[in-house]
Symmetry: C2
Subunit: 157 residues, 2 copies
């Protein structure tokens, strides 16, 4: 699905006077294959370019709106293809034990409610919202199986 993102990406880079080099294409392919947000370290292992190139190209791709940066619960930045290049708007399940980040889609109605909320806030707080983040924190299946619940979780919402 969404198999030819490349022309759209090339166009988007071109708009910004950037080239769609083989290294950049490789990065994009790694992200497409993963189907979930990847840390810089993961990207480095899969696509095999120098780390400076990986970081530099991720920055370029991010600046051109091809790649989006995702903040999880650990110290690692994660990257995924921009939503408008793949199928749809989605959210993240973030494991507070292992840091893994997975995608999920929220019901249409909820999305509409969030957008309505954004409109209200813009109006009342003078804040110009352009996108949102709705993520769930908890423990992934694997971590539920292996480890006892961490203590701090008892105090969370």
């Amino acid at each position: 699905m969404a198999d030819d993102v490349h022309p759209a990406i090339a166009a988007r880079l071109d708009d910004d006077g950037q080239r769609y080099t083989s290294g950049r294409r490789k990065l994009v392919e790694v992200l497409v294959d993963a189907g979930r947000p990847l840390t810089a370290a993961e990207v480095l292992v899969e696509g095999d370019l120098a780390q400076s190139s990986a970081y530099r190209n991720l920055a370029v791709l991010e600046a051109c709106g091809v790649v989006h940066r995702v903040a999880g619960s650990d110290e690692f930045a994660r990257f995924e293809l921009a939503e408008d290049l793949t199928d749809h708007h989605h959210h993240h399940l973030i494991c507070t034990s292992c840091g893994a980040v997975a995608d999920f889609t929220a019901p249409e109605g909820l999305e509409r409610s969030v957008e309505e909320l954004a409109r209200q806030v813009a109006a009342t707080a003078g804040f110009a919202a352009d996108h949102h983040r709705l993520d769930l924190f908890g423990r992934c299946q694997a971590c539920q199986a292996c480890l006892p619940a961490p203590h701090a979780a008892a105090h969370d919402t």
Copy 2:
């Protein structure tokens, strides 16, 4: 309002065998006074302890569920008092220009929808959600006044 969080905090620390030292109390006071998530640097300026103590104590407070770590759009970790110590559950307005983070409260109905969503996901994906994050990204009033819209925003959701 919520003026005496200290006894609750002392109890919470005590549960974990931690002391509520003057340095820790100072940190808490700084966070209470701010009323918004503060970076470690901001905390350092206000409460005047050594940076190692600030970081170490923030870590202790976080582990005991007194303080919560907030990820914004910049590289700085931000800290705020745990929601169950202050008045209520809230969300964040994150400025993509200057990185500032402000609080806001969502309508009750939306919160319920999100909680319902968490339940669905737990059921279908085997993910044990214990809290969520619903934040709006955009430009704060000050940044709207000063700077032209950044280019990358055109590609965002």
